[in-house]
Symmetry: C3
Subunit: 145 residues, 3 copies
C-alpha cells in the first residue's frame, strides 16, 4: 500500500463559510496515480468541520442560518469567560464554533475506485469554517495502489 | 491489501426512515473472506445519512420526532425557493433533509477483526433516509487480507 | 500493511462526561512502531460518542449544558416507555443519550505520518459519555508500516 500526503491551505471567509475542496482533492488524487484505495481528510482545527453535501449557494446560506439559530454566538458559554481561563487576553469568544464543529465532525474517509472518488452526483466535500476568517489547513492522505 | 467493493441498493421508506444494513454488510464481509482490515461505508446522496446505533423500534420513532422538531420541514429555507434556483421546477423542497444529513454524517469506517465487524452488542449500521421514499445506493468497500 | 489492535477500557463520569484518550492512543501508536498509516477508533456503545476538539475544562462544561438543552433528558421519548418494550424492567431511560450519540458520531479515523497522529495543536480525541457512569471500551486499530 502506498501513501501520499498533501496539505490543503486556504484563507476562509468571515464567520461561518463553506469552501468546496473537491476540485483540489481530485487534482491531488489524479497526481498520485492511485487507482484503488481511499482518502482520509482531517481538518486540523477545533473550530472548523468537514461535510459532504450539495454545494448550492442558497443551501449554504441555510447552513449558516441554521447553525446560528441552533447555537447562538451571543448566548453565555463558560469557555467565553476569557479572564477566567489560562490563555492570552485576545483569545476569541468562540464556544459556539467549537460546539458546531463537534456536531458536524472534522474528519472524513472517502473510497477511491478506478482513480475516482466514490461520491454521488451532488456530493461535494466542503470545509466548514465556523470562526473565520482564518488561515486553515486540511490534511489529505491517499492510500492505495 | 485486497479491496472488494459492493453497492447496497434499497428502496427507502417515506419521509424519515431508518434501515438496518448490518446483515447485508456482514454477508458481503463473509463472502469477501477478509479476516483483518476495515470497511468504509458511503451513502452517495445529500439527503441521507449513516449512523451506528441501536435498532429499537421506539427509538427509531424518537429519531424521526427529534429531527422533525430540530429542523422543521415547514420553516423557511432559501434552498426551498425553487423558482430562484437554476434547477428543474419539480425539484423537492428538502433543505431540512440536507441539514439533517450534515449533522448525522454520510460515511462510516468500521474495523474488521478475525472476519467480524468490530461493533458492540447493541450497535447496528443504519441508513437514515431523510427525504424518502427513494432508490438509494450505499457504497461498501472492504480492505484487508 | 500491518494491523495492530488494542482496547481502551475506562470507567466514565456521571451523566455526560468527556474523557481525553489522546495520551493512551499515542502510547499505543508508539508501541506499535508504525510510521505511516492511519488509526480507526470505534466506541462500542450506543450511548457514547467520539469527538476531536479542544480539551478545555470550561468548554467541556459548555458541551454538557448544550447537549442537555438540545435534547432534554426529561422530555417524553417512546424509547423510555420501558414497560412497552421487550427488555428487562431495569433498562435505563436514556433515549436522549442515544440521540446525542447519533449527532456526535461514534467513530473516527486519524492519519499517521512519521510515527505521529496527524492532529492540530489544540485537537484532542475525546470519548463523550452520554449516560454514565459506566465501564466502556474503545477499539483502536492501527494500520500501516
Amino acid at each position: 500500500m502506498l501513501i501520499k500526503r498533501y496539505n490543503l491551505q486556504l484563507t476562509t471567509g468571515d464567520g461561518i463559510a463553506l469552501h468546496d475542496l473537491t476540485p483540489q482533492i481530485e487534482s491531488h488524487l489524479a497526481a498520485s496515480r492511485m487507482q484503488n484505495g481511499f482518502v482520509t481528510l482531517t481538518s486540523r482545527h477545533t473550530t472548523t468541520a468537514l461535510t459532504i453535501n450539495e454545494n448550492e449557494d442558497r443551501l449554504l446560506e441555510d447552513v449558516k442560518t441554521f447553525l446560528t439559530q441552533l447555537i447562538p454566538p451571543q448566548a453565555h458559554y463558560l469557555h467565553n469567560d476569557i479572564h477566567l481561563r489560562n490563555c492570552p487576553p485576545d483569545e476569541p469568544e468562540n464556544a459556539h464554533s467549537h460546539l458546531a464543529a463537534m456536531l458536524l465532525g472534522s474528519s472524513e474517509v472517502i473510497p477511491v475506485s478506478e482513480g475516482r472518488l466514490v461520491l454521488g452526483q451532488y456530493q461535494s466535500i466542503m470545509l466548514v469554517e465556523l470562526d473565520g476568517s482564518r488561515e486553515r489547513t486540511v490534511a489529505v492522505q491517499i492510500y492505495g495502489e
